[in-house]
């Protein structure tokens, strides 16, 4: 047996030593304290992230279809041009920059959505991956 609280110290302590029962738990718990500020920050951060994600998810599933109808035509055209090769892409380039910042964000979002759709196809529909 190696030196350990229960086996080494307790037997050696004189019987009149008052705190013998408390000694061992203290020994073990010595380092079991942590910086609660870190925990606080991290937990609040996590709550924020989850909230944002949930809100965005509800936005995507409720509001987005309505918005999408408005952008349907442009989106359809753009998707078509994107599917063409780079020659076509080059010609479509000026069109991207027409609508300003909002449209560009929209474009990026659309591209992302198409990627996600592709992933969904692979996993849920074609089921060629991650099974």
């Amino acid at each position: 047996m190696l030196s350990n609280c229960d086996n080494v110290i307790l037997p050696e302590l004189p019987a009149n030593f008052s705190k013998s029962r408390e000694f061992c738990p203290l020994c073990e718990c010595k380092f079991e304290s942590r910086n609660t500020t870190t925990i606080k920050v991290v937990v609040i951060l996590i709550i924020c992230i989850i909230s944002v994600l949930v809100i965005y998810m509800t936005f995507l599933s409720c509001l987005d279809p309505i918005l999408n109808q408005r952008r349907a035509a442009a989106s359809a055209y753009q998707q078509q041009t994107d599917d063409e090769d780079d020659l076509g892409g080059r010609m479509a380039q000026p069109l991207y920059e027409q609508g300003g910042v909002l449209n560009r964000v929209g474009n990026r979002q659309d591209r992302w959505k198409r990627q996600v759709q592709e992933q969904r196809n692979n996993i849920y529909v074609r089921r060629t991956m991650l099974n």
Binding site: M1, L2, N4, D6, N7, L10, P11, L13, A15, S20, E22, C24, P25, L26, C29, F31, E32, S33, R34, N35, T36, T38, I39, K40, V42, V43, I44, L45, I46, I49, I50, L53, V54, M57, L60, S61, D85, D86, L87, G89, R90, Q93, W112, Q115, V116, E118, Q119, R120, N122, I123, Y124, R127, T128, M129, L130, N131
Partner: protein
Amino acid sequence: RGASRRRSEDGLAGMSTDGTVLEHALPESDRGLAQHHGVPGNASVEMEPEGEPFGQYDDFHTIDWQRDLARDRMRHRYIVKKRQTGFFDLVRQFHDAWSGWLCVLLVGIVAGGVAGVIDIGARWMEDMRFGICPEAFWLNKDQCCWSSNETFFEGDNCSQWYSWPEVLGAQHDSAGGYVLAYLCYVVWALLLGLLAVRLVRTFAPYACGSGIPEQIKTILSGFIIRGYLGKWTLLIKSVCMMLAVSAGLSLGKEGPLVHVACCIGNIIAYMFPKYGRNEAKKREILSASAAAGVSVAFGAPIGGVLFSLEEASYYFPLKTLWRSFFCALISAFILNSINPFGNEHSVLFYVHHERPWIFFELLPFIFLGVLGGVIGAAFIRSNIFWCRFRKTSRLGQYPTTEVVAVTLATALLAFPNPYSRMPSSELINVLFNDCGPSEGIDLCDYKRNFSSMSQAIETSEAGPGVYTALWQLAIVFVFKFLVTIFTFGMKIPAGLFIPSMVLGATMGRIVGVGMEQLAINYPNWWVFSSECTAGENCITSGLYATVGAAAVLGGVTRMTVSLVVIMVELTGSVSYIVPVMAAVMAAKWVGDALGREGIYDAHIYLNGYPFLDSKEEFDHTSLAADVMEPRNNVPFSVITQNSMTVSEVESMLKETEHNGFPVVVSKESQYLVGFVLRRDLNLALAGARRDGVPGQSLCLFTAAPTGQWSGPPPLQLRRILDLAPITITDQTPLETVIDMFRKLGLRQTLVTHNGRLLGIITKKDVLRHLKHLEVEDLEQVPFH
């Protein structure tokens, strides 16, 4: 022109072809360099890294290691050559030389930080199912109780922590309180589970699953899956991992952590052009990231490196070992500084056994290993059966329903049993550790005599509580085994390490307690009598749990060295390396006898990824001639070096689907000249057509000819020709071919006989042939 080249996807569109045979407008010295090396074209691109195309390979394609590494060497030489031209270039060269280390340093720091965040979050969320700490809602139960200043608190409760029934005003120990707690537990679990599966589905479907088969093994072996290591995958996988673990599902966050670390590696690699723009080089960073992932998942840096070496490394087993180790260590250090485990030990489950094991105990350890192998094989079979069912039946169309149903079932069944109710990692911790004199749970209900303090721990016969606990543990074992089969493979992030360890620890602890009681009741058996002095306990039941966990993990994953090292680091004790090794070895052998492949390989085969195992030995009598395409007098699409017209080549491109074409001397004497990639050919021809090259032009793959041409000026394509394709003869044994594919990282190899081209072998041909040899249905396994 510079702008157009930058925008065009390949860097070749800017090629001007004005009617005569043209080389690209390069300085003479640079061209010499590029041509000198047989690198397939893109010479101008390598000279100007900014104009380099980003996506070199298509989705679901395999990379060509030799080619990518040649590109990197070229880039490196370019930078070295430019060194003398200025201070900025000097800085750039320095940055280039150190970017590998800088990159893994960043990866290590970020991975450690993310792991710390996930760990803190998961622990907090897990305890949210039971109650809340009203004074500081962000603390979990342990922290909440420690923050109070009471020295003693009995059993489960401290005054700071309020369980949900207490919050809602019910009595803690009344029947109503129990029902209320049950209800809260189930509702929380359902909520978190539902949230996890919806988030995955909405934002990043690739975030589901363990990630180790796809990502570590397949991607590192050179497969391209776009978006698999992206920003959204990282975010969603991190968040959903916490949610899924907290939902009480039988899954762990260790496998997904490896995936998350690789995402971090991928994202950071994009900040360094050396790695971000070269798929082969990027895999060096990914390999280090995988090591960091395991390192933070288990607090085991050495085990992490060995894991990355054993499971992941493919083309570069040793070159990046040192850098991977650095990355793993940094991440473990950062995680340790954040210190989410709340103590000074850098390990997940701190175990400190006191007694040395006795030699006879190797027998029960090996028995545990055998059990682990059997359980592992059974688990793999059942899980693969269920996954195949999900893949092929209509079940796969309802991922959300499936997750909700499994979560509901798990929560409903888990709550009544105290051992399945507690979080898995806590259960493992309880099982791994011995009973001290002061512990109050059922499992430690030994008939001990505390009256005299001056004696060592004495004979400890089991009380009734121990027997109850054993029954409960047996139920937990069966329950976890069944529920894990259905859980692993659902569309949420799900790791397999923790569930396997729970299975093994449960089993091991039961065996351990049995052995312990045996030794106590028959202390005079010769096996015990030599070691166990009377009145002292000589069997450590916690050690059995550790060994059992290693055994089941070994049976399920079929890892070997890395598993032993991880378990040793996990438990922080080198003295038990021999028992762990014995158990893992027995588990591996028994498992291999019952079912050839580990769970990861089984999933790879199920999904048909093009993965050529680097450890397996093949024992077939096939020759290259049996594997190559085309075999049965099917016409073979080749390009001649100076006799095909542009339109002929174009029609061939339309008719075939091959990724590349060999170039031969002529149709009559098919001596191999080189190899040209479909992609390069496509782009070059499209560019030439745009510039008005007529269809009757000859495609020239030879050096620029002298003299005048009778017809239209030929199209010079030598630039895109790879003059150094790897060739083998038709009599080469398949083992050698496989060896070359694995070790040289080939995408295809050309088969010749007496110098004459016969056919081509791709990685997929090899895999198809191997599958065919296994007399399995070929149609069922589509390789993409």
